[in-house]
């Protein structure tokens, strides 16, 4: 007699549920010391639903198969010197920003989900969080392995962990994740599981990875899509978390709404770096940031928030401001990095004519009016040997830590400044969104390790730009400055000259 086969749902229930128990030799509140202080009320942890129902045997099987495929591509890529086959040497700069700015966040997510995977009281969400912790470790490790091949040839990649902990603009993504890690377990789940993974991650991965595919970077597109296949599980965890919290108790609604508002805005600010990558750094472009925003936030997020309306959840505060800013943000960010190219760990350039025309077409409301003239002026200055560098250290927003370069909603010619007083000090912000976040938790955000303040306080290697670059382990003249004249460009041109020669 062979045993009857269990259905997926029953099998998962038997194999995972019921593993946990109420401790009696130690009080539950001591075993789970962190899941009360945020004020979230959970009546019944067993109401948690696990839509994917992966047992470890299935997890290992599928993930091993994905990894075999991925590493086969990486090996082939290295053997075939795929690094020389991308669309253009400029493309590598997207990888520099990715490895120094995004991969370390995957690592933080790995440790953060281990935290919630241990400290949420319910077994269901804990297992899901643990799997995500393991997946996030996968992501950082596969990213390092993929980009390792580029590091052998190109500058700006070699010191990624050191830079992530120090470099001024990398404090933007780092502080974002530190913020989530410093929060309680429920806020972490909403911040990263819901707001980042569900609402915003498509904006990071799908267009960017399609961009990698379009630019001939088969190794990056392979890890990207392969990672993204885990992401669909993570997104499901994110939406289950928010539904679960809202279904458990009506008192959770205002807390969750506040987190949704906060983390939408935090995530939106970090994604400005992606906006810039898409519009300026991909030599062959898939879609504009504005188009990506329309597909993945306006449309995708619209469906989501319509669905969540039944719980009383509203579209995040300032979503309208973010949508309006989609017309500006990539241009304003690129302007910052262009001006501070001497302190950036990747190369910059002014768009060529074809690229300018593409931007004009994609941003008919704003580009010709506000940005094209400035780019043409700066390009002209370059020609005349008067390339513009901004040598003054910028003022940073106390919350998102981006230099104060964003404009007022509805008025793209006026820089937006906000400020607030706390314990006798004045704090500065780039937006109402960031100011609201500070005002809600001033003790937390007053602590920010602001790179510019730290430089002024003498904590970053010294007072001059070369001192600071040295402290960043940023190789002056190789890692920084314009692509034109860089060792990367020289190498790229040599390869292509030789390839042309070899082809006869």
């Amino acid at each position: 007699m062979t045993a009857k086969k269990l259905g997926l749902k029953q099998r998962y229930a038997h194999m995972t549920r019921g593993l946990d128990w109420e401790t009696t030799y130690q009080p539950m509140d001591k075993v789970f010391p962190y899941d009360q202080f945020e004020g979230i009320k959970i009546k019944d942890w067993s109401a948690w639903e696990d839509p994917f129902r992966l047992t470890m045997d299935a997890y290992w099987k599928f993930q091993a198969e994905k990894e075999r495929k991925l590493y086969a591509v990486l090996d082939a890529f290295a053997q075939n010197n795929g690094q020389a086959s991308v669309s253009d040497g400029r493309y590598i700069n997207t990888l520099k920003l990715f490895l120094t700015g995004v991969s370390p966040l995957e690592y933080q997510a790995h440790r953060g989900f281990a935290f919630t995977g241990r400290h949420l009281r319910g077994a269901g969400p804990r297992v899901a969080a643990q799997m995500q912790s393991l997946d996030e470790l996968r992501h950082v490790q596969t990213q390092i392995h993929t980009i390792s091949q580029y590091n052998k040839y190109f500058d700006g990649l070699s010191e990624f962990p050191h830079m992530h902990d120090r470099v001024w603009y990398l404090s933007v993504p780092k502080s974002f994740f530190d913020d989530a890690r410093a929060a309680g377990p429920f806020e972490f789940m909403i911040a990263i599981g819901f707001a980042f993974e569900y609402v915003l991650t498509n904006l990071l991965f799908v267009p960017f990875m399609s961009g990698a595919a379009y630019n001939g970077d088969m190794s990056t597109v392979t890890f990207g899509f392969s990672a993204q296949s885990d992401e669909s599980r993570h997104m499901t965890l994110g939406i289950e978390v928010i539904k679960f919290l809202l279904e458990q108790h009506p008192d959770n609604l205002p807390i969750v709404q506040k987190w949704v508002d906060k983390w939408f805005w935090r995530g939106f600010r970090v994604l400005g770096l992606v906006a810039m990558m898409m519009d300026y750094m991909l030599p062959k472009k898939v879609m504009s940031w504005k188009e990506a925003w329309e597909i993945y936030f306006t449309e995708g997020g619209g469906s989501l928030f319509q669905d969540l309306a039944r719980y009383g959840i509203k579209v995040p505060k300032y979503a309208d401001v973010a949508t309006e800013a989609a017309e500006h943000i990539s241009h304003q960010n690129w302007a910052v990095f262009y001006q501070y190219t001497h302190a950036a760990g990747f190369h910059t350039w002014m768009p060529d004519r074809e690229h300018l025309d593409w931007l004009s077409e994609k941003y008919p409301n704003t580009f010709d009016k506000y940005y094209r003239p400035r780019w043409e002026m700066w390009a002209q200055a370059e020609k005349e040997g008067k390339r513009f560098y901004n040598m003054a250290l910028p003022q940073l927003c106390q919350v998102c830590q981006i230099p104060m370069a964003y404009t007022e909603p509805g008025d793209p010619t006026t820089i937006c400044f906000r400020e607030t007083q706390f314990k006798g000090e004045t704090y500065h912000f780039c937006s109402d969104g960031c100011k609201d976040i500070f005002d809600d938790e001033p003790e937390k955000y007053a602590q920010s390790w602001l790179p510019v303040h730290q430089i002024f306080q003498g904590n970053c290697g010294g007072p001059t730009v070369p001192d600071v670059l040295n402290w960043y382990r940023m190789n002056n003249g190789a890692d920084n400055m314009d692509y034109a004249g860089s060792p990367d460009e020289k190498l790229w041109n040599e390869w292509h000259a030789k390839a042309a020669e070899a082809a006869g």
């Binding site: 045993a3 128990w21 009696t24 045997d57 099987k61 390092i144 730290q454």
Partner: protein, 330 residues
Amino acid sequence: MSVQIKTIEYEPKRQTFGHVARRLGADKPASRYLEATLDVQPTVNFHYKPQWEPEFWHFDARKTAVVMEDWYKPLDPRQFYYATYNIARANMNQSVERSFAFADERGLIAKLSDDARSQIEHGLLPLRHLHWGANMNMTEICQRGYGTAVTAPCIFSAMDHLGMAQIVSRIGLALDGQTGVSLDMAKETWLNNPAWQGVRKLIEDSFVERDWFQLFVAQTLAVNGVILDLVYKHADAAWQEAGVTVAMLTEFMTDWRAEESRWSDSVIKTVAAESPENKALVSQWAKLWIDRAVEAAKPLSASLLGDNGAVAEAAGEATRKRALSLGLAL
């Protein structure tokens, strides 16, 4: 006719990342394990103190009393990174699938005597809860620990324990005709049967241990060495005629234990060897938790094997020997 393939020389500018080269002492090619592990955890310039533990940063070497000059010394001899870990487990799991299929086809479980069944229900199935407790501990060490070299294998270990809890659950489902009745009974046994209360108290006490390296010693040396080895290694006689079947269906655990202890032992050895202070602390923790594990295991051993706790003592002795071989002084 000769075929001439024209190639271009792509001369690497560097062989590996800067932080990896500094640890290797030279810029030379590094393994995927090293590139995926070394210095991956952030170390400085954090922004906000955690609301849940403001006395520390979220990555903070002070969360254990042992001190390492460099937490990247205790490397994993298995050189696991995510891909190699998963591929290793997927391979091990293929044997699990074959064993369960074989046991099913041959009716190995169906024809067990009531005695053997009740022994498995009583002595083996409650282990799924101990694995779950171990999963909590290894997850905790992953989140609280310091340095990717130690913490990354801890999430692997946590998921291994979840996987093993699920293998034990499958044995239960095979016994009870896929109804889950045996799993409910096993939970009752875990919660209330006197034979298991020492073990349950031991693991619950470990849940509240705040020093993550002490927890590492408690779990990987004491709990794994005494309790898991007692049941998986030294209790064959308890399963009566099902001894071979149980051995076959728990082969994963045997292989896993041999493999994981190579890593966990080497971590303990490296940390203890760092300084006399570390050695004293780790030795003290090892003694404390092995002694407690032996006391906890005695009633279980007595109930399973009718040995008055002798096999638990023997498992404890073997674990003490192991601890000595790692350079500890008990």
